[in-house]
Assembly symmetry: C2
Homo-oligomer: 370 residues x 2
């Protein structure tokens, strides 16, 4: 069978929001060619031997669109299975259409695996139903003005302002105030509700709500630093009731789960389910060290003596307690607690017995209390 290029939507941000089919294609890839907004954890799904090529605009040497097309064709001609991973959906405000057309012209087989668009994923995680009875019967997505290498979007703001439904603008940092002004000057009420979402569906997701006028002022004063989504419409008002993602007890907290050889790693998922950003101790020792130094890790868990020993070995027995001075340390079982004591670490939570779920509960209770 001939080789295939899969144009895959990686989804809106969180690595588990890719489709099953996209994930499986990724697992068969010889080459992964990805954009800068694709989550790094997704790249781990490809076989270890697969070549990984960053062609995003934040790559050390961003690749232009024509070069990306030729790269896809070249790898396919070498008989390789190519996974072309894109943020959101490959066809929505992206270059998937151009890449597919190029592959067609070159006689190279391709498939398109759709993805959850950022506009759909980020609103779901912000607790904003993109449609609601009474909130209008249309949803309009608008391309950002500032996409690299493409001309300014032509939008009929007059018509757009008259549609009653929800509007979602893909907005770069500079254009957010302009889009807000355009909506108001073409007839949307300055008091209409709107929201701006950055880092949608990631543990760092941030949602700012206000009226069109308020948001225009806010983002003139303090521009956002990356890609943002602007949502306009009555549906924004539901966020107050429906926010589930950033109201979870560990939202905004970062936990380091030290791997235990003796026990399965349920703890990472248990803490993530409560909203925490979880770092699992793998081989990124320097990153973890830096984050501990910067006090960016709120909690560290040890569920066995070996986990403590591994921490002490990585960061030095002398330094271990200093590094953890401003962090919640939680141990499960007497062996982990003893080992911590010997390494000079004082756990604030010492669960003598119980499951990983009860340890997660204790951590939630700790931060709820603070």
């Amino acid at each position: 069978m001939r080789s295939t290029v899969y144009l895959i939507g990686a989804g809106p941000g969180a690595p588990d929001l890719i489709t099953l089919r996209g994930f499986r294609c990724l697992q068969t890839a010889d080459v992964v060619i990805f954009d800068h907004m694709v989550h790094p954890r997704l790249l781990d799904a490809a076989p270890a031997a697969a070549e990984r090529i960053d062609v995003g605009s934040a790559a050390p040497q961003p690749t232009d669109q024509e070069a990306i097309c030729y790269l896809l064709a070249e790898k396919a001609r070498e008989g390789k299975t190519v996974a072309r991973l894109k943020w959101g959906d490959p066809f929505l405000f992206d270059h998937g259409g151009e890449e597919a057309l190029f592959l067609h012209e070159q006689g190279i087989r391709f498939e398109v695996i759709p993805g959850v668009p950022a506009a759909i994923g980020a609103t779901a995680y912000a607790g904003i139903p993109i449609t609601y009875p009474g909130g209008g019967d249309t949803v309009t997505f608008i391309r950002g003005h500032e996409d690299e290498g493409r001309e300014k979007a032509k939008v009929d703001w007059d018509s757009l302002a008259r549609l009653e439904g929800t509007i979602v603008c893909y907005a770069g940092p500079k254009q957010l105030p302009k889009m807000l002004d355009a909506l108001m000057s073409h007839g949307r009420a300055a008091e209409e509700s709107a929201a701006v979402i950055v880092n949608g569906t990631l543990s760092s997701q941030r949602t700012i709500t206000g009226t069109l006028a308020e948001l225009a002022q806010t983002f003139k004063d303090q521009p956002v630093s990356g890609a943002a989504l602007l949502i306009v419409g009555k549906v924004v008002n539901f966020r107050e009731h429906l926010r589930w993602f950033d109201s979870r007890p560990l939202y905004g907290r970062c936990a380091l789960v030290m791997h235990s050889k003796e026990q399965p790693d349920d703890l990472a998922e248990l803490l993530e389910a409560q909203g925490a950003e979880v770092i699992v101790d793998t081989d990124t020792k320097l990153d973890i060290y830096r984050q501990l130094l910067d006090r960016k890790i709120d909690a560290v868990t040890f569920t066995s003596a070996s986990a403590v020993l591994s921490f002490a070995a990585n960061y030095g027995v002398e330094q271990a307690s200093d590094l953890l001075a401003h962090t919640l340390v939680a141990t499960l079982g007497p062996a982990a607690a003893d080992a911590a004591g010997r390494a000079g670490i004082t756990p604030a939570i010492q669960l003598q017995s119980g499951s990983q779920a009860s340890l997660a509960d204790a951590i939630v209770a700790h931060f709820r209390g603070n």
Copy 2:
């Protein structure tokens, strides 16, 4: 930890277009409450002991929206993990917002797992890039008029007709001609390109293209039988070049892969990758029997003697050859061919040696020749 209701987007149709996160939540469910457009194979992902409740409008007794809300709350109060599975995305032209608000008011924890909307998935599989440079910088989705229990959609067709971008209408059978007329009478050109997609992303996906005027006539004469998507815009013209899904060699064919105890089942995936709808011999003997009788199965594969014996045992040695008289029979290996011969079955493809991939290739070559 308290029980949770997951409002999950099942995606546009194909079961592997659900998100990883949606799939994992489904695997932990005690109760699955699903709509009628959710693929049956997705229900298999839930634990065998999980309760499965069909509340869709095609269910024997469709459940009204208020009753669904109470059902979700009731199951959650029993301490159960509830997966609420919906076609496409839970918040896009669906009742996810109402269900979330009800759960919030009842103090029940919920999470929203977005899904690939039908409008995104079906267009990707039809080879229609929903946006393309020069094809306008907006995409507008329009709710169907005929959703059960909801009033007629209010759409400002004048404004909509003036937006240059792509329009996707979620359309019920009766409203398709009305929507086409509305677009033309409010200013979209009768010669503009459009497409209608039914059964999006399924092996039965069908795409009809034409001008607005042509499609209006077509669907007045022959109404579609289920939910359809109407896509309007220049981007439809790309389908001619970008159709990849329904141009695969086995598209529109149905293959029965008889399970072999001796070998892994790669064949089903290999045939699916070529576009076939694949039935794997499990315990749905009556269904398979009916489809064989109705000549709806185009090919049957046997990769071992046991597979042949199992077929003969299921459908009677006497009847086996009659049932397969109008079907391509393909065997791999001498044992399967011998067993077929003894059961009175004459395989048109007898591969003495080789891999399952070469058997799939031989089947593709057979149908290409026809």
